[in-house]
């Protein structure tokens, strides 16, 4: 009878996720993953499959554990307007002084792989659609609660906020300047009153 792995499969996938997240797919070698997880090459292959399969698993983990949980947590704990604001702040406040700003794993993948890799493209597109839906839901709820003016167009504004959020995320990686990023947040919020 088998007797289970003696390493934490989820925790290891988490380390892999952070490696791909920070450096991207092509720039992260299997050797890097062996080093940063402490798990042997053979075990990685036996457990997760090849590099591409492992990347997809890491990306899906991010989508489930980070994006999905963040959105539902915001939706649960905040009013609609504040939930939108907090989503922006989550990325704004993730920038560190020591230059290791990872931004958003899904957005990084959107540029590096989505155009050439169908399975990555699907995950990324679905995730972006979910964020768009989140914004639309918050706007509609905000209108009902009179937090957001009735003249705001839900669909269009939700898409606009999605673009602003992605723009902020990109700038997080290339110009991690708090004042710049704060202006973007303020400008985004002005659209919903």
């Amino acid at each position: 009878m088998p007797w289970g792995k003696n390493f934490d499969v989820e925790a290891t996938l988490d380390k892999v996720m952070h490696a791909f997240w920070t450096r991207g797919y092509e720039a992260t070698s299997m050797q890097d993953l062996v080093d940063c997880t402490g798990i042997n090459r053979g075990s990685l292959y036996a457990t997760y499959g090849d590099k591409h399969t492992l990347f997809i698993a890491a990306l899906e983990r991010y989508d489930n554990e980070m994006r999905r949980k963040l959105l539902s947590s915001l939706e649960e704990h905040y009013g609609p307007r504040e939930a939108i604001s907090q989503l922006f702040k989550a990325f704004l406040e993730s920038i560190s002084d020591k230059g290791n700003n990872r931004g958003c794993f899904l957005t990084n993948s959107a540029l590096e792989l989505a155009p050439h890799d169908r399975s990555v493209g699907k995950i990324v597109a679905h995730s972006q659609a979910q964020i768009e839906d989140f914004f639309a839901r918050m706007i509609n709820k905000g209108k009902k609660l009179d937090e957001i003016p009735a003249h705001v167009r839900s669909t269009e504004t939700a898409r606009g906020l999605l673009a602003s959020l992605i723009g902020l995320i990109v700038l997080t990686r290339s110009r991690p300047d708090r004042s710049l990023l704060h202006s973007i947040l303020d400008d985004a919020l002005r659209r919903i009153g």
Copy 2:
């Protein structure tokens, strides 16, 4: 006496630029560049230096030949409000039906390399600052011409438009859907009246 190269240095750099632009730095090998330019390996190295130096040259070429010329052309031929609109449309209309949407070379590099490569980071940050300045200039000019309401805050809105533009560019690569991208343009323009 030397007798000049017998290939077009600028035209070749242009092909290199498109290769890096489409696939990124890590995913483009020197062999790919040899193939797509038709120039031999040795000549590439003798003319442009190593891969990283060649990439920087290609990125600077993009910044000069594409970004800079586009902005000054828009500034010259259009009124301020229309110039802003046309900048967005330049990317919106670049999406093709056959999936080879390259987006913006500088934005691609912002995510792939800027956080880890200082020289790339400088070029990208400078370019983004130039676009931000372009927006601010157009907004101020628009206010003077009464094209743009006086209550619009120049600096903040310029930064907001920069984020929206970058967001649109990213979505160009991951969700090349004309209706989605058009909503983002409309939403962005609504901010300046």
